[in-house]
């Protein structure tokens, strides 16, 4: 993937030094923060983090990014790498939320094993069709869908960033597409679309 939107816009001096050395330059943390804050924010939202928690989790994601920046390979696209942090933080968050919901009261809408109590909650909170539809996907499938269909990452890049087998990534994408298509039909019929 050579799509420029996946790569940070490097400071001219950094780019010049990198060109001289023949290697890609690693962007500074401040630059990543400045340019990717919105991306991390909306990635967390799309991964099911509720609005009231997204600021805390964005902070958490960037602290982790800062701690791991030395491990970033600038030859690889930045966004999948950043997304992987958001994915892990959101996964932990969702596990916590699910545990909390299940421990208090079983939701009658969570009887379908493929839809967690958290997803029911996320769907109810959704303010538009997109979030409602995404809310029906589990976080693993959702992550693949967002990276591929929205961010335009290739499947090998996604598998690499999320550290999963390529076939697993393809399988999750296929299932995500199918599940989303069903969800959209249902949601549209509910809101009265033809």
């Amino acid at each position: 993937m050579t799509d420029q939107r996946l790569r940070p816009k490097l400071d001219p001096m950094v780019r010049e030094n990198a060109a001289r050395s023949g290697k890609a330059a690693r962007p500074a943390f401040a630059q990543i923060f400045s340019e990717s804050f919105d991306y991390v924010w909306f990635s967390l939202r799309r991964l099911g983090v509720r609005e009231r928690d997204v600021e805390d989790l964005t902070h958490e994601v960037f602290l982790r990014i800062h701690g791991q920046l030395d491990r970033y390979d600038p030859e690889r696209p930045l966004r999948p790498w950043l997304f992987a942090f958001a994915y892990r933080v959101a996964s932990d968050y969702r596990k916590l939320a699910r545990h909390r919901l299940e421990s208090l009261e079983a939701s009658p809408e969570a009887t379908d094993a493929s839809v967690s109590a958290f997803d029911v909650l996320a769907t109810r909170e959704a303010s538009n069709l997109a979030q409602a539809a995404l809310g029906e996907l589990d976080v693993e499938r959702r992550a693949i869908f967002l990276l591929h269909e929205v961010d335009g990452c290739t499947m090998p890049e996604i598998a690499d960033a999320l550290q999963i087998p390529l076939n697993t990534a393809y399988s999750r994408l296929r299932l995500a597409r199918e599940q989303l298509a069903r969800a959209l039909v249902r949601l549209r019929s509910r809101r009265g679309d033809r």
């Binding site: 400071d11 630059q31 923060f33 009231r52 800062h66 916590l96 869908f145």
Partner: protein, 234 residues
């Protein structure tokens, strides 16, 4: 893997997702998060003469290529200062740098049962912002399980640790482990627990738990702080 048989992504869905991001994240939130991170890093940097430049806390955009503290210093120094901060608070000292450590950690705990309130039918049409719980709607604060609740317990443990009340710190950490077994702050919890064990001279337990910590969280920001603490018993 054949994707042709799976449905193409819905155009309206993708357009809605694009539209959602077009307005951007709240700039105030960006500034707050930036300030929180800068405070953390500046505090870590202030602990070391090896880091002569610490970025100023600003409310504007960070400048490209700013000099940020190195990762292991963040964990090691922030961890050390956290404990020192607790001691300072306990002794009722007023040290500005200590206050900086805790300013961003004061988060109002959001009572747990509000989650159920959010899934009542009446709430379905509300926006997520409208669904923010209020204490009056919850009736109980015993089940806090959000980040604010986590932070409050960890901070309590830190203060106790800083005051030398290690048993009290352990009780708070145990409470966190019970309420948030996979909480976002579990690495910080485990690291502090190891320090508390070592401070009480329970070296074997501390050593065992440190080994578990390294196994569970090999990339943890708190790894260097744990390693540093372990040096004290070698």
């Amino acid at each position: 893997m054949n994707l042709r048989r799976s449905p193409e992504p819905d155009a309206e869905l993708l357009a809605l997702l694009d539209r959602e991001t077009a307005k951007g994240a709240p700039i105030e939130a960006k500034r707050r998060v930036e300030a929180r991170i800068l405070r953390t890093l500046a505090t870590a940097g202030a602990a070391s003469s090896a880091l002569p430049t610490t970025p100023a806390v600003t409310s504007g955009e960070p400048t490209s290529g700013a000099s940020w503290a190195r990762p292991w210093w963040i964990a090691a120094s922030a961890f050390a200062l956290g404990g020192a901060g607790g001691a300072a608070v306990h002794a009722q000292l007023t040290v500005p740098s200590v206050r900086i450590v805790y300013v961003d950690r004061v988060v109002t705990p959001i009572p747990e049962p509000a989650v159920l309130a959010a899934v009542t039918p009446d709430a379905s049409a509300a926006t997520s912002k409208d669904l923010a719980p209020t204490p009056s709607s919850t009736g109980s604060s015993s089940g806090d399980s959000n980040l604010g609740g986590e932070r409050a317990i960890i901070d309590r443990a830190r203060r106790a640790f800083g005051a030398g009340e290690y048993a009290s710190a352990e009780r708070a950490l145990d409470a966190h482990a019970r309420q948030f077994p996979v909480g976002v702050l579990r690495e910080e919890r485990e690291a502090l627990a190891i320090k508390a064990l070592l401070a009480q001279g329970r070296s074997d337990e501390g050593r065992r738990r440190a080994a578990q910590f390294r196994e569970r969280f090999p990339q943890s920001l708190f790894g260097p702080a744990v390693d540093e603490a372990m040096k004290s018993i070698r």
